[in-house]
């Protein structure tokens, strides 16, 4: 199908060249081979290169230069089409997998409902006959038995009086845990709100749901993975491999069960995400077993004081509770498995400072850190095992993953600074903005990874400077992305040099630590990324640009190993469905994703066991729901509820446009430095000064990039080169409002006609409008690219939402049209084209009755982008 389409696209099909001057050109197989070879090295050769090619290669010498040019053009186009086709295939596969999952769940739910209806009817009947004097014993029992099953699906977990200090007691607990876990996994025991992992377009990782109105917080996920159940169980039981916040897991005893399963008693410690609250630990019973239908279940629950042996005493940890959780794996035909994961915990919210409570009460963050992380990890392993992933930097994905695990772990160690790792607190300098901790025996916690011999002659150690603070109005993902791409905005080259030099085995070479203040640039060399693109591992090469001869001696290329993790942005699907918006793919509400950026200097050799002393940033959103409505709130502050709730909390402005609700997040920074004992105090003061300056830079950056429509007295300086609009920001609905309003300002007319709707219905209306409506970015130094389009726009451009940003305005509207548009536009901010022809991204000609372009402005009358409408368009 694709071949045929490609053929029809081009006016000059490439595969025929006849010696007579027919308009078709055909190349011999040798010629094609030669051309392909060149293409693989250089897909876009310059005209000089092409001439060179004709001269050098005798097979190609009888082809006109123009034909060569055309061949390359067409070849690039073919490549693009192929990529697009394979991308669509991937999307299709994912959607089909989802579909299968959903159908299965649907089937199960229907069976469940019909079973309940049957029982319901049966019991009603029994009630009628029970008033008679004789009753059949058997029928009573059957009712009772099924009643038991019903009761066990009851959502309130009970702690039995039975003696749990012996194996028999543990078995009972294990079975109860199993029952409770299953009822959650199959969805009836807890109130769930569904979430779907989604980027613009129908990509998704599986079905995820978070809890509402239950004790503690819970998240559940369901996905399809191409691995055998036993392998999945093995991977997931090894928690530290995928749960980055897990510090250690100790299996203290294992008891076999009758059917070949096991009961394990486990002590687990997790890291605290910020410096403001203590870490949590868990003492649990984990029960592994198989069910009659061949499914494998691993369920787990905390052993509380009312039932079960008491766990190890905890000193700097707060004991948290794990309510029945686990995973259920069912094999499906074709060798894959369907997996249901449930995580249900109570993190002891009340022992945490009030400002941080939303973090510990957020099911969505739990979902990101545990449930989704687990699903993504097995997906990743599955793709690696099935050979679908290319190796990065010549290394196996597992090795690269170890790097990122070590970076995250080292950062967590820094943020937490556990005493039993050898950390001790250093007194402050009077200002309480940060904490400095010293570790004189770093070999203890970094272990074999750290070259402790570094300091054997002089004596020294490791220092950590860390702080946590609140940020407002900046999405975590945006901030972390900026910090990653613009290191020079916050980092200091001198300090980086010092850190890198400390890695060298010869302590004498360590320069005196000072901040240099002279500029540097970075080159990012990607190493690996995960399948769903939530984690990027890369090497950063830093080059200093020194001006004085003295400084030049200090500059050196240095390398950092860096990982950035941004959990996929998730959307509350129930909102979409309730508003009937499921036929419009623009998302209405995005929940903040947790993001972190962690880096460590690394030696050029990139040895697998190179010592790593990581530093970095972590930003976690504070769910606005709990901040606004208090605990136990049942709805997220999304558009729907904002419309329902009373004026005290309703943030809508008078013309129906939503304001950005106050998005707060917690930023945690931790920086590691090494020191020699005699220089310790100098390094401490450098660390203090540095972290303060980094904090200041980050705050400045956060203000500048906040997509703020909140009027503040502060000046926000837009940073050069940084795109104002990322996909999904500003929200599509807001953009649509701006588009319509700006159109009204310029023409006095309603863009969508007299019966233009308000609020979210406007988004849907614009999406379905038959004229093609698009937006382009307005960059002064580059050709405008498309950033937004409605369905008709996508159809006209013959592209998809995801590929939209690859299309430039130049390609679509011809020279003459652009001239007219630009002239008028420049003068009035508004341009108009009479009937004409333009071209889709595939080269197909489109005729339109008229085209209008206008400047789109936001609430502050700042120009945001250019909007275009092509009225009454059709393919020629």
């Amino acid at each position: 199908m694709w071949g045929k389409m490609a053929f029809s696209m081009h006016k000059e099909p490439l595969n025929s060249k006849q010696i007579d001057s027919s308009k078709y050109v055909r190349y011999t197989p040798e010629q094609v081979e030669a051309l392909e070879r060149v293409y693989n090295e250089c897909p876009k050769p310059s005209s000089l290169r092409r001439q060179h090619l004709i001269r050098e290669c005798p097979i190609l010498s009888n082809i006109e230069p123009k034909q060569i040019k055309v061949w390359f053009q067409n070849r690039r186009c073919r490549e693009k089409q192929r990529n697009e086709a394979s991308r669509l295939q991937t999307v299709n596969r994912k959607l089909t997998a989802m579909n299968k999952l959903l159908m299965e769940e649907n089937d199960r739910l229907q069976k469940q409902v019909s079973h309940l209806v049957y029982e319901n009817g049966y019991m009603k009947q029994q009630l009628r006959t029970a008033s008679a004097t004789t009753t059949d014993n058997n029928s009573c029992e059957s009712v009772v038995v099924s009643g038991q099953q019903q009761q066990q699906q009851n959502p309130t977990p009970r702690h039995p009086q039975s003696d749990a200090n012996n194996p028999a007691g543990l078995h009972i607990i294990a079975e109860e845990t199993l029952a409770e876990f299953l009822s959650k996994a199959t969805g009836t025991a807890v109130d769930w709100d569904q979430i779907i992992g989604m980027k613009p377009g129908p990509d998704s990782i599986g079905i995820v749901a978070v809890s509402r109105n239950c004790s503690g917080i819970a998240a559940r996920a369901c996905g399809l993975v191409s691995l055998k159940p036993t392998m999945i169980a093995e991977i997931l039981k090894d928690r530290p491999s995928w749960f980055r916040d897990c510090r250690c897991v100790d299996v203290l005893s294992i008891i076999p069960t009758a059917n070949g399963g096991t009961i394990e008693l486990i002590y687990m410690q997790t890291y605290a995400p910020t410096t403001l609250a203590a870490a949590r630990d868990f003492w649990t019973l984990r029960y592994t077993t198989s069910l009659e239908d061949g499914s494998l279940v691993v369920c787990e629950r905390s052993l509380t004081s009312t039932g079960g042996p008491t766990g190890p005493p905890t000193s700097c940890f707060v004991r948290a509770e794990m309510l029945p959780s686990g995973f259920l794996i069912r094999p499906c035909e074709g060798g894959g498995s369907i997996i249901h994961i449930v995580d249900h915990v109570d993190l002891d919210v009340w022992s945490v400072p009030e400002v941080l409570r939303p973090l510990y009460e957020s099911s969505k963050i739990l979902a990101q850190k545990m449930t989704i992380a687990a699903l993504l990890h097995i997906r990743q392993i599955s793709q690696e095992t099935n050979g679908e992933i290319k190796y990065g930097g010549g290394r196996q994905p597992a090795v690269l993953r170890t790097f990122s695990q070590r970076l995250c772990r080292g950062f967590n160690d820094a943020v937490n600074g556990f005493v039993d790792d050898g950390w001790s607190l250093m007194g402050s300098d009077g200002v309480e903005d940060m904490t400095i901790m010293i570790n004189s025996s770093p070999g203890k916690f970094i272990g074999s990874q750290y070259n402790a011999s570094m300091f054997s002659s002089f004596g020294g150690g490791v220092l950590c400077a860390k702080a946590s603070m609140l940020l407002q109005n900046v999405p975590p993902a945006l901030l972390v992305r900026f910090l990653r791409e613009h290191r020079s905005e916050w980092a200091d080259y001198g300090v980086d040099t010092y850190s890198a030099a400390c890695l060298k085995p010869n302590p004498c070479a360590v320069p005196y630590a000072r901040t240099s203040g002279f500029p540097s640039s970075q080159v990012i060399l990607p190493l690996a990324q995960t399948v769903e693109h939530e984690e990027f591992l890369e090497v950063v090469r830093l080059e200093g640009h020194a001006f004085t001869p003295d400084d030049v001696a200090l500059t050196q290329d240095m390398y950092l190993l860096q990982v950035s993790v941004v959990m996929c942005e998730v959307v509350l699907i129930s909102t979409l469905l309730e508003l009937g918006q499921f036929d419009c793919p623009y998302v209405l509400d995005t929940v903040g994703a947790c993001a972190q950026l962690i880096f460590a200097p690394i030696d050029e050799s990139f040895a697998d066991n190179a010592p790593l002393l990581p530093s970095g940033f972590r930003v976690i959103p504070l769910d606005p729901k709990t901040v606004m409505d208090g605990p136990g709130a049942t709805r997220t502050l999304d558009l729907a509820s904002a419309l329902e709730v009373g004026p005290g909390i309703n943030r809508l402005s008078s013309d129906g446009e939503p304001n950005n609700y106050n998005l707060r997040s917690v930023l945690t920074i931790a920086f590691h430095f090494t020191f020699e004992n005699h220089l310790r105090d100098d390094v401490v003061s450098m660390a203090r000064q540095y972290v303060r300056s980094v904090v200041g830079s980050v705050q400045r950056v956060a203000m500048a990039i906040a997509p703020s429509r909140v009027s503040s007295g502060l000046e926000t300086k837009p940073l050069p080169g940084y795109p104002e609009a990322l996909p999904g920001s500003p929200e599509a609905l807001t953009l649509v409002h701006w588009i319509c309003r700006s159109y009204r300002i310029h023409t006095g007319d309603e863009l969508l006609g007299a019966d233009s709707q308000a609020g979210d219905a406007l988004l849907k209306q614009l999406w379905h409008h038959t004229d093609a409506i698009m937006c382009c970015s307005l960059k002064s130094n580059a050709s405008p690219v498309f950033t937004f389009a409605n369905q008709a726009g996508l159809d006209m451009l013959e592209t998809t939402l995801v590929a939209l940003q690859d299309i430039m305005l130049d390609k679509i509207v011809d020279e003459a049209g652009r001239k007219i548009l630009c002239l008028e536009f420049m003068e009035q901010g508004f341009g108009h084209l009479p009937a004409g022809i333009c071209v889709s991204s595939m080269g197909r000609r489109v005729s339109y009755e008229q085209a209008i372009a206008w400047k789109v402005v936001d609430e502050d009358a700042t120009t945001h982008c250019l909007a275009l409408i092509f009225i009454n368009w059709s393919f020629v």
């Binding site: 029970a130 039995p160 469905l577």
Partner: protein, 73 residues
Amino acid sequence: MVMERLNSNLYLQNCYIMKENERLRKKAQVLNQENQALLSELKQKLSKGKNSANTTPDLNLSSTSNPNPPNSS
């Protein structure tokens, strides 16, 4: 563009099924509650009717393995 349409349709179908599943879940919950109520009503009726009978059916509902009637919660 056939694939694109196919994907859009699948996506729509998925959304529709999700909605349907949610509805079924809620229905199951309601039915469950109703069944609980019916069950306790039935228990009451039966225990009244059993006062004079010899064989007592096991109305123990809290544990499948324990034959002794415990305190039901």
